[in-house]
Symmetry: C2
Subunit: 142 residues, 2 copies
């Protein structure tokens, strides 16, 4: 039974093209933004790309607590990964997530100072299926 | 120009069947859940229904700071309404949001003690369209 839920969590993680990133702003309010999911390989560590000048970077540097929510309304399922985000500006992490077409947003390429990567280290998760809620740790899914 | 953005915000609010509710849990992590949008009439006050025993009720009673995020990935648009949530258990607010079919979840009807209503009083909002971000207050849209 628990394995079926873990399979569903992996499917949500692998099939989603976008997810909702939430963080807490300087006034203590949660802020949510849709983000493209560019890699689908791990549960424990998840990477997102964004622009360095965005307001979320300033907020995440102040308070790294964040979550990433993948949702499939058609199957009434969602999974929330909660953890801490590190803002990465080193070239190897930035190259990891660089994709063709990004030049449109970051003309200087993978080294563009306005391009950076968010690294979420997941501490715990929750899977929702209808009224059923399952808590898990990332270690259980690896 | 600003009026066009306000029209787009109203369209997102009116056309969305669901939105992402975010709040902050007792450990300070943002938690996001998809919620059905059952009414679409105001910007300043927005109502959601949920079950009293859900973990979000306990968290919102501790910390009422919340946000509701409506998103249309097809048009690269989203709108975030941030404000405070009051958990309403009075019968008139509960009846306001009661819909046919809710008996399946709350067998005792609109007075079922496990059924309650979240009332979000919006303080401020952000509209996102691609890389363009517009801040607004609910008063500007009424």
């Amino acid at each position: 039974m628990r394995q079926e839920i873990f399979d569903a969590i992996w499917k949500l993680r692998r099939d989603s093209k976008s997810a909702c990133l939430s963080y807490v702003d300087e006034d203590g309010y949660p802020v949510t933004r849709a983000m493209l999911i560019l890699e689908h390989e791990q549960i424990h560590t998840q990477y997102l790309s964004t622009n360095t000048s965005s307001s979320k970077i300033a907020a995440l540097k102040q308070n790294p607590k964040a979550s990433l929510y993948y949702c499939d309304p058609a199957s009434f399922q969602g999974v929330l990964f909660a953890g801490d985000i590190k803002v990465c500006t080193d070239s190897s992490t930035k190259e990891l997530l660089w994709r063709d077409g990004f030049e449109k947003y970051y003309p200087k390429g993978a080294t563009d100072p306005d391009y950076c990567v968010l690294k979420l280290t997941v501490k715990r998760g929750s899977h929702y299926h209808g009224l059923c809620n399952t808590q898990f740790t990332p270690e259980e899914l690896e």
